[in-house]
Amino acid sequence: MGQLRRQGSIVGIAVLAALVLGLWAGGVSSAAPSAHVAKRKSLHMTDTARLHLVRKSGNTLYEKGTATGTLPGTVSARFVTSATKVTGTVTFHSSGGGSITMTAVGYPQSAGTIARFSGNLAVRSGTGRFKNALGSGTFTGTANRRTWAVTVNASANLTY
């Protein structure tokens, strides 16, 4: 009987311990994301970037310019051209501080002196107030193939 009582109390302690641990673990697991989300801000960004050619190296174009819209400031970009698409890295340096770097894949929609293009972008990193920025979006634009002046209209949702 005494052994049974001891066994019962051990089981009771174990169940209690499990419940306490479970509650604690549950609390941590449910509390952590909400705290994490609460720290991150979200932003819908709609910007127009006007870029000019800085230099070329083979199939790669290096461009700089200005952005107007949600994040006004300066923009620098590196575009790698191929027969059917253009991949690039674009960095928005916000005049309010911080920067956002995005990768972009664009597809030409027309030829001629003024070529239209459109594509998708992914926000991968940032600095300053945009540290750890993440997001995605789309863009359309035109490129003057005589001067390589490029205008890009980008729209993206991001958290930081």
Partner: protein
């Protein structure tokens, strides 16, 4: 005097024999050969004309007509980023399926569509067995943008003795590494021509971004001619030089290919490097 001339003549004869033997040996070794050459003053980081030479040895190839020529170029070479092909040459579909009786200069296409000039030599084998060489001028133009690719239009303007004028369609597409893109020109059978003769291409030489190309733009209300920027060279040389690949296909579905590597030009851009 005689004694001095004889060794010279013997040396010259020996040199000629060596060259002939070397050419024979090369031809025997490779039924298809390709070579790509940059401007003499080209420099890394600058722009250049790209002279492509394709040679085919009909004695080592099928007698079936040529149906496609594909020329792959290195990934780092800037063809799309060049200033070539700013206008579009759009021709009716019927132009690509017949011998053109009347073809205006550039096939009636805008001068700003020209991407390259060249020449071709073909052997025309008549039904009676007679073989006649035909020389032609070739113009490569940018065509309509279709299915996400830049189109090409190639005009072959026969000079002598037949003077046949033909138009072919092509495109600039992707190519697997180490190549970045490929110019493809398709040569379907021209109805009516196959009953008269078999045409075997022997040599095709095209200069993309040729110095002879002139574009026109409006500046200050006036039409001004300028030479478009040629093919862009990267600042760094790819390992092993610039590698090119040519592939030809024939009507009997056989295909042949050839590789070439172009050495790197100097690593500095002089002001006169083709810009």
């Amino acid at each position: 005097m005689r004694l001095r001339l004889r060794p010279r003549a013997a040396l010259a004869a020996l040199a000629v024999l060596c060259v002939v033997a070397w050419l024979d040996g090369t031809a025997a070794a490779a039924p298809v050969r390709v070579a790509a050459v940059f401007d003499r003053d080209a420099a890394l980081g600058g722009s250049t004309a790209l002279d492509v030479r394709l040679r085919l040895d009909p004695s080592q190839l099928t007698r079936a007509p040529l149906t496609e020529v594909r020329f792959a170029y290195p990934r780092s070479l800037g063809l799309v980023s060049s200033g070539l092909g700013l206008a579009t040459c759009t021709r009716p579909a019927s132009d690509f399926a017949q011998v053109l009786i009347v073809a205006p200069r550039l096939g009636g296409c805008p001068p700003n569509a020209v991407m390259g000039f060249g020449t071709a030599l073909a052997l025309v084998r008549l039904t009676n067995g007679q073989v006649i060489p035909e020389y032609a001028a070739v113009t490569v133009l940018s065509g309509p943008f279709e299915h996400g690719r830049l189109g090409l239009v190639v005009f072959v303007d026969g000079q002598r003795p037949f003077g046949a004028k033909l138009a072919f369609r092509g495109e600039v597409g992707d190519a697997p590494a180490p190549y970045g893109g490929a110019l493809t020109v398709r040569m379907p059978m021209v109805p009516g021509l196959e009953e008269l003769a078999t045409i075997s291409l022997v040599e095709l030489r095209i200069t993309i971004g040729s110095h002879a190309i002139r574009y026109y733009e409006r500046r200050g209300g006036q039409q001004v001619a300028y030479r478009p920027t040629g093919v862009e060279l990267p600042l760094r040389c790819p390992a092993g030089g610039f590698r090119f690949r040519a592939q030809v296909r024939f009507a009997d579905h056989s295909r042949r290919s050839a590789l070439s590597s172009t050495p790197c030009p100097p690593a500095f851009a002089s002001p006169s490097s083709g810009r």
